[in-house]
């Protein structure tokens, strides 16, 4: 058994969290299989996976969301590489969703943060890159782009106060964008109901309450982590403000390499076992539903008018509410309560 924060949390809580555990194992196996394919590559590109695979939460019918991340000169060969990757990945898992399966340029991700050129798609890809992405090949390119994004957030976050050491080390610009992304997801959920009526409404509702919300929780924890758990390292970070952005980016980069459950587990290990059960018991139950093809299909085809009388939907809604209650309990604890009040609302 791997010695990971999640495994240690299971012991700490005497939990088995069977579906989270099997999803992690299934994802690890898929990643190994993908890496063993020796897929064609280019020195300035990285094949990056997102979604449930990126979160280490692959279930039985999960699709494989991926993108070819490009960080270098535009090269016509990139399109040919993309076609070959599509062929090689066909049949390995379900085809990617509409946002994926194509080229993603690093330029927009780094230079268009906020403002009119930061489209919904650009924001989405950038957030998912930070919160739920894994490189299949060329880790260096993947890491380079994430560092550049994080550095942009941090260096753009300076205020007059930061000509001296910051009072609290909270990457505010990044935090605001995580909040913006969460609100965008929730608004887009309502928009899809308007535009697409019942199409996959039920499963979108479930994912909003759970896996999408978990991403937001992960983003908050990433931004609060230094002050909540590493404030004793402050002097090392602020002793030379000229290198502070890179050091903070390096700290956050390490967080992006963990799965959302991994980030959450580290924080929960420092709290009472009961709190971890309140959060991960319902999340495990959620993955159990997704891992059952019949239940997944039932949610995907559920009509809104039928939801009130649907036993599965009622169960998933309760799972979502229990998860929310657990997360709310976590953020009501010190120091998160103060950090949320100071940085999370305005």
């Amino acid at each position: 058994m791997q010695d990971t924060p999640f495994e240690r949390l299971k012991l700490h809580c005497s939990a088995d969290w069977r579906f989270i555990t099997s999803a992690r194992a299934r994802t690890a196996e898929l990643l190994s299989r993908l890496r063993a394919l020796n897929l064609p590559q280019n020195q300035n590109t990285s094949l990056v996976i997102f979604g449930s695979a990126g979160r280490y939460e692959l279930t039985a019918d999960s699709d494989l969301d991926w993108s070819l991340l490009v960080d270098g000169p535009a090269d016509p060969a990139h399109v040919e590489l993309l076609h070959r990757l599509k062929q090689a990945l066909h049949g390995i898992a379900a085809e990617p969703g509409p946002t994926f399966g194509g080229l993603t340029s690093s330029y927009e991700l780094v230079h268009y943060i906020g403002g009119v050129r930061d489209t919904n798609l650009n924001l989405t890809i950038r957030m998912l890159l930070l919160l739920e992405s894994r490189s299949v090949n060329n880790d260096i390119v993947h890491e380079r782009v994430i560092r550049a994004i994080l550095n942009r957030y941090i260096t753009s976050s300076t205020s007059v106060a930061w000509h001296e050491a910051p009072v609290e080390i909270i990457p505010r610009f990044l935090l605001n964008d995580f909040v913006r992304y969460w609100r965008t997801i929730t608004v887009d959920y309502a928009a899809k109901r308007w535009e697409q009526s019942d199409k996959k409404w039920g499963i979108r509702n479930a994912k909003l309450r759970l896996s999408r919300k978990l991403l937001f929780v992960t983003g908050l924890l990433m931004c609060f982590k230094f002050e909540a758990e590493h404030s004793d390292e402050r002097d090392a970070f602020v002793s030379d403000m000229a290198t502070f952005p890179q050091k903070l980016a390096g700290f956050l980069l390490k967080e992006t390499k963990k799965s959302p459950i991994g980030v959450l587990s580290e924080t929960l290990l420092l709290r009472e076992a009961d709190l971890a059960r309140r959060i991960l018991d319902p999340y495990d139950a959620f993955l159990a539903v997704l891992d059952d093809s019949d239940q997944r299909r039932e949610l995907e085809t559920l009509r809104f008018e039928e939801a009130a009388n649907n036993e599965l939907f009622a169960r998933v809604r309760k799972i979502g509410r229990d998860f929310q209650a657990g997360v709310s309990a976590l953020f009501s604890l010190s120091p998160f309560d103060g950090l949320i009040a100071e940085y999370g609302v305005f």
Partner: protein, 234 residues
């Protein structure tokens, strides 16, 4: 005052004598003898007695970046023939058997790599330095910048191996892995961490330039490393 100079390979590939001569009149006090390609090793060793290095307070030699004909033992034996006080720059991928390198452990400098090869980050170099504890470190700013233009990787390398830092390589490394004259972007990036380089650490310029560009590239390097002028613009 910091010692600056060029790699002979940057000025005259395969011709150490000319590489030294090209920079002789520019007030440089450091030089790196390039034997980057294995077939250059013997001619370089042969040429050394005929070259006057007295003007240089710091001399290093760059070992072949990979072995082709020589065994690892043979390579180390050849490298031992260079003057004792010269640092020997070694790429981590040329080291397979650490025991073979023990004989010259104090003399070698491990160089961080460009994005194509393992040994690019502090984590990737951990096992090398764990096995060659007395080895020095050559920080290649061009390689570090290619791997991470924000210079976070360079800072991490200095934090972890700064105590072993012997000298610095500087140039811009383009997307094809070639060492070229520094553009504004690389000058700007290097100047952001220049204050972390102790003033007694020599800088070896690896930008491939012609004889007519030696003075300008030297001036560009001095400005990036020993002056904060680029940063003042922002």
């Amino acid at each position: 005052m910091r010692a600056y100079g060029f790699s002979t390979g940057a000025l005259a590939k395969g011709d150490v004598q000319r590489g030294v001569a090209c920079q002789a009149d520019h007030g440089v006090t450091a030089v790196e003898v390039s034997a980057l390609r294995e077939f250059e090793l013997e001619p370089t060793l042969t040429a050394l007695p005929g070259i006057d290095f007295s003007a240089f307070s710091y001399v290093s030699v760059h070992a072949p970046s990979r072995r082709q004909q020589l065994s690892e033992e043979e390579l180390v034996a050849r490298l031992e023939e260079f003057p004792d006080h010269w640092s020997i720059v070694v790429h981590p991928n040329t080291i397979e058997d650490y025991d073979v390198w023990a004989a010259i452990e104090d003399r070698i400098c491990i160089e961080n790599m460009d994005q194509r090869k393992y040994g690019r980050t502090a984590d990737e170099l951990d096992s090398v330095f764990a096995n060659l504890k007395r080895a020095g470190f050559c920080l290649d700013l061009g390689h570090a910048h290619q791997v991470d233009p924000t210079m976070g990787v360079a800072i991490e390398l200095l934090e972890r191996y700064g105590d072993a830092l012997r000298h610095v390589h500087i140039s811009e490394v383009n997307s094809h892995g070639q060492h070229v004259p520094m553009s504004f972007a690389s000058q700007y990036a290097f100047s952001s961490i220049a204050h972390l380089l102790p003033s007694d650490v020599p800088v070896i310029i690896e930008s491939v330039v012609g004889a007519s560009a030696v003075a300008s590239e030297l001036a560009t390097t001095r400005a990036a490393v020993d002056s904060a002028s680029l940063r003042k613009v922002s």
